[in-house]
C-alpha cells in the first residue's frame, strides 16, 4: 500500500484533490445531488489513501466541510453529505504535523456550524447526530470493559435500561402508579438523575460483577448475556403486582429538561428557531458536551495506573496478579465505570425521546454496542467513536434510506436493467436486513482489519502520514 502511495507524486495528489473539490462545487451549483455526493466521497478517499501535504490536506478538508454544509443546507444530495462531514472529522483526527489549534478550529466548525446548519435544513440530521452521540458515549463505556480490561460483556444494554428507567419513572406520571402522592419531577432534575444513574448503575455493575467476574472469557459473556436479559424481562413484567415500569407498553410523557434559558440565548444570538429544532439543537449540544467529558475520562483513565492495570489483566491475568494488581477490585472498577457511562446516557436517552420501552434494551442492542467497539477498534477512543458513528448511520440512515429508494421505485413502476421494480418482492427490503449487513461488515472486518478501523495505538510515538 505504502509503495503504491509513494508512486503518485504529491503534486498529482493535490491536483486530483483540487479537481474533485471543484467538481463537487460545480455539481452543487447545478443541483446534481448524486454527483456532488460521489465527488465528496472521492475527495475523502483521495485524502485518506493518497494524502497531499498535511497543510493542503487540512485546507482541502476545510473546503470539503464548507461545500458539504452548503449542500446539506440547500438539501442537495440528501443526508449522504452528512457522512462526508463525519469523514472530515475522522481524517482530521488522523492528520499529522499540523498545529493543534487549526485542527480544533476545523473540528469545531464541523461540529458547531456544519452539523447544526444541516440540522436546521433537515431535523432528522439532528436526531442522527444525537443518536450517534449517545451510542458513542455508551460504546466508550463498553470500551473500558471490553476494549481495555478484555471482559466480554454481552449485557451492556441492561445498564442503559436502568439509567433510562430511573428517569422515565420519576420524570413522568408513572411514579404515581406506586407512589400516589408523589408529583412527577421537574425537568431540571434530569441532571441530578444523570448523577444518580451513574451511582445506581455503578452499584448495579458491582453487584452483578461480584459473582460474574469470577468467570472468564466465554463464560463471562454468557452470564452477562443472561443478566442483560433479566433486566429487560424485569422491565417488561414489572407492571404488576405493582406498576413500576408499565410493562411492554413502556412509559410515555417523560419530562424533558426546561430550555427557556437556552431559547433566550438563541433569540439573543439571532439563531433561527422553531419549536422542534430548539430541543434538537439543545440535546445535540448537550450530547457534544457529554461526549467531550466522556472522552476526557476515557483518555485520562487509560493513561493512569487503572487503565494500565486493565490492559495488563487483558494481556496476562497471571502476570498481572504477580505484579500485585488486585484482580476482583480492578475488574469491578472497569465494570462499574462502563456501567456508569451507560446509565448516564440512559437518562439522557429517556429525556430526549420522552418515551422508553423494553424493546430498546434487547440483546440486539447490547450486541450492536459491542459491534461498535469491535468495528472501531478495541481500546481505541477515536476508533470506538467512528464505529458508533458508522453503525448508527448504517442502521438509522443508510439502510432505511435505501429501502425508501426501492419503495419509490416500486411505486413508480421504474424498470431497472429490464426488470420492472414493481415486481420486486416486498421481502427485499434492506431495512429488514440490518443484522445481515451488520454481520457481513463484521466478517469483512475480521478478515481485512481485525484490529478495527482505527486500531489502538501504543508504543510507536510517530504518527501515520
Amino acid at each position: 500500500m505504502n509503495r503504491f502511495v509513494g508512486a503518485v507524486p504529491a503534486t498529482a495528489r493535490l491536483a486530483v484533490t483540487v479537481l474533485l473539490l471543484a467538481a463537487m462545487g460545480g455539481f452543487l451549483a447545478l443541483g446534481w445531488g448524486a454527483a456532488a455526493v460521489l465527488a465528496a466521497y472521492a475527495t475523502l478517499f483521495v485524502l485518506a489513501a493518497f494524502p497531499p501535504d498535511p497543510r493542503w490536506k487540512l485546507a482541502a478538508l476545510a473546503v470539503l466541510t464548507l461545500e458539504a454544509t452548503l449542500g446539506l443546507a440547500s438539501k442537495i444530495g440528501g443526508d449522504l453529505l452528512f457522512i462526508a462531514l463525519v469523514g472530515v472529522l475522522v481524517l482530521l483526527l488522523r492528520l499529522p504535523k499540523v498545529a493543534v489549534w487549526l485542527k480544533v478550529l476545523l473540528g469545531a466548525a464541523v461540529l458547531l456550524l456544519g452539523i447544526p446548519i444541516a440540522g436546521f435544513a433537515n431535523t432528522f440530521l439532528f436526531e442522527l447526530g444525537i443518536q450517534i452521540g449517545i451510542y458513542s458515549a455508551m460504546a466508550l463505556g463498553l470500551n473500558v470493559v471490553v476494549g481495555m480490561a478484555g471482559l466480554l460483556d454481552m449485557g451492556y444494554a441492561a445498564f442503559f435500561a436502568i439509567g433510562a428507567y430511573t428517569w422515565a419513572i420519576f420524570g413522568s406520571s408513572q411514579v404515581q402508579h406506586f407512589l400516589t402522592t408523589w408529583v412527577p419531577l421537574n425537568g431540571n432534575f434530569v441532571y441530578l438523575f444523570m448523577g444518580l444513574a451513574i451511582l445506581a448503575t455503578a452499584a448495579t455493575g458491582i453487584l452483578i460483577g461480584l459473582p460474574a467476574l469470577r468467570l472468564r472469557g466465554d463464560y463471562l459473556a454468557i452470564v452477562t448475556l443472561g443478566l442483560g436479559e433479566v433486566v429487560r424481562i424485569l422491565a417488561n413484567n414489572l407492571d404488576h403486582p405493582l406498576n413500576l415500569t408499565n410493562g411492554p407498553q413502556g412509559i410515555t410523557g417523560i419530562t424533558k429538561p426546561p430550555i427557556e434559558g437556552f431559547q433566550a440565548l438563541l433569540a439573543a444570538l439571532g439563531i433561527p428557531r422553531s419549536a422542534s429544532t430548539d430541543y434538537q439543537l439543545f440535546f445535540y449540544l448537550l450530547v457534544l458536551v457529554i461526549i467531550g467529558f466522556i472522552v476526557l475520562v476515557n483518555v485520562n483513565l487509560a493513561r493512569s495506573k487503572f487503565g494500565r492495570a486493565w490492559v495488563a489483566i487483558r494481556e496476562d491475568e497471571i502476570a498481572a496478579k504477580a505484579m500485585g494488581i488486585p484482580m476482583v477490585k480492578t475488574k469491578l472498577l472497569a465494570f462499574a465505570t462502563g456501567a456508569a457511562f451507560s446509565g448516564a446516557m440512559g437518562v439522557l436517552f429517556a429525556a430526549q425521546r420522552g418515551f422508553v420501552s423494553p424493546e430498546t434494551f434487547t440483546l440486539t442492542a447490547s450486541i450492536t454496542i459491542l459491534g461498535m467497539v469491535v468495528l472501531g477498534g478495541m481500546g481505541s477512543v477515536p476508533g470506538v467513536i467512528l464505529g458508533a458513528a458508522a453503525l448508527t448511520i448504517l442502521n438509522l440512515d443508510l439502510l432505511k434510506g435505501f429501502s425508501e429508494v426501492l419503495n419509490t421505485m416500486r411505486q413508480d413502476g421504474t424498470v431497472l436493467l429490464g426488470f420492472p421494480m414493481s415486481q420486486l418482492p416486498s421481502q427485499v427490503d434492506p431495512a429488514k436486513y440490518e443484522r445481515l449487513v451488520f454481520g457481513i461488515i463484521l466478517i469483512l472486518m475480521m478478515i481485512f482489519r481485525p484490529e478495527g478501523l482505527i486500531p489502538e495505538r501504543r508504543g510507536s510515538r510517530e504518527e501515520e502520514a
Binding site: A322, R458, S460
Partner: protein, 259 residues
C-alpha cells in the same frame, strides 16, 4: 532497602496422582542468593507458584520474614514485597516497555480513582515520579532506549531483563527468578550475572534463583537446594552440593559419577 528471609516448612502440592512438591523445607537468608536446581520436572516452577500464591499448598507453611503467607492470594503476596519473573516469559506484550514496568509499580503509585479521572490532587506529580522510577530501573537493566517500544518487539534476552525490571518495580524485598538466563547467549548470561550480583549488593535483595546454567549457579549462589521428583535431595554450600553423590546421580543417572 534490605531483603527479607523466606522460610518454607514441609510444603507439598499434589496434582491428582502426582506429588509435584513433596514436603519441601528450605530457607533463604535475608540478602543472600539461594538457588533451587534440579532436573526438568523436579517441581521447581511449581514450588515458585506455591510461593507466589498461584497454587495453594496442600500442607506446610511459608513464612516471608515473620509473616505467614501460606494460602494468601497472588496479588497480596506480590504487594507484601515478593517479585517474580516467569520461566515462559509473561510480559504484557501489547504494552510498551515503560508501561510494563509501570504496571509492576502499580501498588506504589498513590493515586485514587477520582484524581486519575480529573488529573487533580497531584496526579501528574505522582505519575512523573513513577515514570522517573521506571526509567531508572530500565537504565539499570540497559533497556532505557527501548522504553517506548512494544514489549513484544524486544529480543529474547531483552524480554527476560524486562521481566526483572518489572518485578523490581514492585520494590520487593524478595525476588524470585525463574530461569532468567534461559535462551540467552553467553555474553547476555555474563551481563545478567553481574546484574544479579549488583541487585544483591546495591539493594540487599534476597534472591531465589531457578537456573539450569550450572556455571552461573555456582558463581552466584550463597546456598543451593536441589530438588528431584518434588523432594529436597540436597542442601548446602555450592561446593558441598557439587560434590554430593545424590545430586550427581540425579543429573547424570545411576553410575553417572563414574562415567
Amino acid at each position: 532497602m534490605t531483603g527479607s528471609s523466606l522460610t518454607v516448612e514441609g510444603v507439598s502440592k499434589r496434582f491428582g496422582g502426582l506429588l509435584a512438591v513433596n514436603k519441601v523445607s528450605l530457607r533463604a537468608e535475608a540478602g543472600k542468593i539461594l538457588s533451587v536446581i534440579g532436573p526438568n520436572g523436579a517441581g521447581k516452577t511449581t514450588f515458585f507458584n506455591l510461593l507466589t500464591g498461584i497454587y495453594e499448598p496442600d500442607e506446610g507453611q511459608i513464612l516471608f520474614g515473620n509473616r505467614n503467607i501460606t494460602g494468601k492470594k497472588s496479588d497480596s503476596i506480590a504487594s507484601l514485597g515478593i517479585g517474580r519473573t516467569f520461566q515462559n516469559i509473561r510480559l504484557f506484550s501489547g504494552m510498551t516497555v515503560l508501561e510494563n514496568v509501570l504496571v509492576g509499580h502499580h501498588n506504589r503509585i498513590r493515586t485514587n480513582y477520582a484524581s486519575a479521572i480529573f488529573r487533580w490532587g497531584g496526579f501528574g506529580k505522582e505519575e512523573r515520579r513513577a515514570e522517573a522510577r521506571a526509567h531508572e530501573l530500565l537504565r539499570y537493566l540497559q533497556l532505557d532506549e527501548r522504553a517506548d517500544d512494544l514489549a513484544a518487539n524486544l529480543s529474547y534476552g531483552d524480554q527476560r531483563r524486562l521481566e526483572i525490571a518489572r518485578a523490581l518495580a514492585l520494590e520487593p524485598t524478595l525476588l524470585l527468578l525463574d530461569e532468567p538466563a534461559a535462551g540467552m547467549n553467553p555474553q547476555e548470561t555474563e551481563d545478567l550475572k553481574h546484574t544479579i550480583l549488583a541487585l544483591k549488593a546495591d539493594l540487599g535483595l534476597t534472591i531465589v534463583l531457578i537456573e539450569h546454567d550450572m556455571a552461573m549457579v555456582m558463581t552466584l549462589s550463597d546456598r543451593i537446594t536441589v530438588l528431584e521428583y518434588g523432594s529436597v535431595i540436597a542442601d548446602g554450600l555450592p561446593e558441598e552440593v557439587k560434590a554430593n553423590p545424590r545430586v550427581i546421580e540425579a543429573y547424570l543417572g545411576k553410575g553417572g559419577a563414574n562415567a
